[in-house]
């Protein structure tokens, strides 16, 4: 799947965009970016701002700090003095809230970036695997004998997985006394693992064994 390269980081002409779809997408992205820049300016430099934009469809978007209405009023009344003292407490509270939210946002964006990087690495591994092993290729590219072979191997693997799953569940249900002797039974935490025996397999007959021996 090849993504079309975006026009970002390219110089574009500043004149009305001819294609409607392109125009709408650009509006959406740039409006969001504009509000982001305005928000940053307010946080970094303590500015007060109001931005009002009309969408191509006629809807109105606005951003204001502390809020659109007060800035608009201030503009109309040509009032050099900002709001009276009494509101400073509210202002302070709001600023603290904004600081907190900014931290949260930074955290989320960092996590997102990390996950994207991880995704890239995993994709690379997959691509590398596909050049080396025929069975890692997309299923639609495999020949009939290959499909058959893969099917059999997958079915065998499934059996192994089920067996291992059973083993883990049994260990969880019946912690062996051997662990206790060592004093460190950290590996066995029977209550934590959620047991859904009926969903995983229909043949659970180990719980009658009692403690210890299986």
């Amino acid at each position: 799947m090849v993504k079309k390269p975006s026009k970002g980081r390219q110089k574009i002409e500043i004149s009305k965009i001819p294609k409607k779809n392109h125009l709408q997408v650009t509006f959406s992205k740039r409006r969001s970016g504009l509000f982001k820049k305005a928000s940053e300016l307010c946080t970094l430099c303590g500015a007060n701002v109001a931005i009002i934009v009309f969408s191509p469809a006629g809807k109105v978007f606005s951003f204001g700090h502390p809020d659109v209405e007060s800035i608009v009023d201030r503009f109309f009344t040509c009032n050099p003095m900002p709001e009276p003292n009494g509101l400073h407490l509210i202002e302070a509270h709001r600023n603290a809230s904004v600081r907190e939210l900014n931290l949260q946002l930074t955290q989320v964006l960092n996590q997102l970036e990390a996950e994207k990087k991880r995704g890239e690495i995993l994709s690379q591994m997959r691509r590398a695997g596909q050049t080396q092993c025929w069975w890692e290729a997309p299923i639609n590219e495999l020949s009939m004998p290959e499909l058959e072979q893969l099917k059999v191997s997958m079915e065998e693997l499934k059996k192994v997985v089920l067996r291992q799953g059973d083993k883990l569940l049994m260990e969880a249900a019946n912690p062996s006394p051997f662990y206790m002797i060592n004093g460190s039974s950290a590996m066995v935490d029977p209550i934590e693992i959620e047991r859904k025996p009926s969903e995983i397999h229909g043949n659970v007959h180990n719980f009658g064994y009692g403690q210890g021996f299986f």
Binding site: V60, V108, R118, N140, L162, G165
Partner: protein, 236 residues
């Protein structure tokens, strides 16, 4: 242009703050202007700084008044529907970020489990996997088996219809080429079709012990009487 990541907090250093303000104010106005021109829409910006009692505006005081008049004319609900302040705007962005994060994590988990699956196909043990991993792995194997099965079926259908078509054509030929009336041979009796079908039967024969591309994959297992039903909760 610096590419250092700037901390989103009030700049306490006065000169640094003033310099940043100047640059970013200019950039902001430029962006408003570009948005207006590129999309052919009305817009305005009003900016109050601690350095000036008079606001900086775009496009111009008169232009701002015009846009504000248009704004005020709209019904209250329309005005406030898409109105945000820093708090609400940040909450929006956080929500969106969380959504994207969730999706990215889900995609990554899928990729990860796929890797585990391919690695265990070549003999890597399952000891390091916990019960959740095993569950997800089992689900992934099932999905793959489904896809493989579908693909085998569709290839079979394709070949069968090709065989039938070929047989019909062959039968048609027989009828045409015979001067005397030849017996119509039904499709089955056409050698090509039978040969083709036999090939598939051989392939699908599960009794053949098929090696795994050189690797010794076939592990000796006892029988198991599991009805595997993986809980649907693969992705939390």
């Amino acid at each position: 242009m610096t590419r250092k990541k700037v901390k989103l907090a009030y700049i306490t250093n006065d000169s640094a703050r003033k310099a940043t303000f100047k640059k970013r104010k200019k950039g902001l106005m430029k962006k408003v202007s570009e948005l207006s021109t590129l999309c052919g829409i009305d817009a305005c910006a009003i900016l109050y700084s601690p350095y000036d009692s008079q606001p900086e505006v775009w496009p111009s005081p008169l232009g701002v008044q015009r846009v504000l008049a248009h704004f005020k004319k709209m019904p209250e609900m329309e005005q406030s529907k898409k109105m945000v302040n820093q708090e609400s705007f940040l909450r929006q962005r956080i929500a969106k970020g969380n959504e994207q994060l969730k999706k990215q994590r889900k995609d990554n988990r899928e990729k990860e489990i796929t890797q585990v699956m391919y690695q265990s196909l070549t003999g890597k043990g399952l000891q390091n996997l916990n019960i959740v991993d095993l569950n997800d792995l089992g689900w992934m194997i099932d999905q793959n088996l489904k896809d493989i099965h579908k693909r085998i079926e569709s290839l079979n259908k394709e070949a069968q219809s090709q065989a039938a078509a070929a047989a019909a054509a062959a039968a048609g030929q027989l009828i045409k080429t015979g001067g005397k009336v030849q017996e119509e041979k039904p499709a089955f009796d056409s050698m090509d079709a039978i040969q083709r079908q036999q090939w598939f039967v051989d392939l699908v024969n599960p009794n053949e012990q098929m090696g795994f591309a050189g690797d010794d994959m076939m592990l000796p297992f006892g029988d198991n009487n599991h009805n595997a039903l993986w809980p649907n909760g693969f992705f939390p």
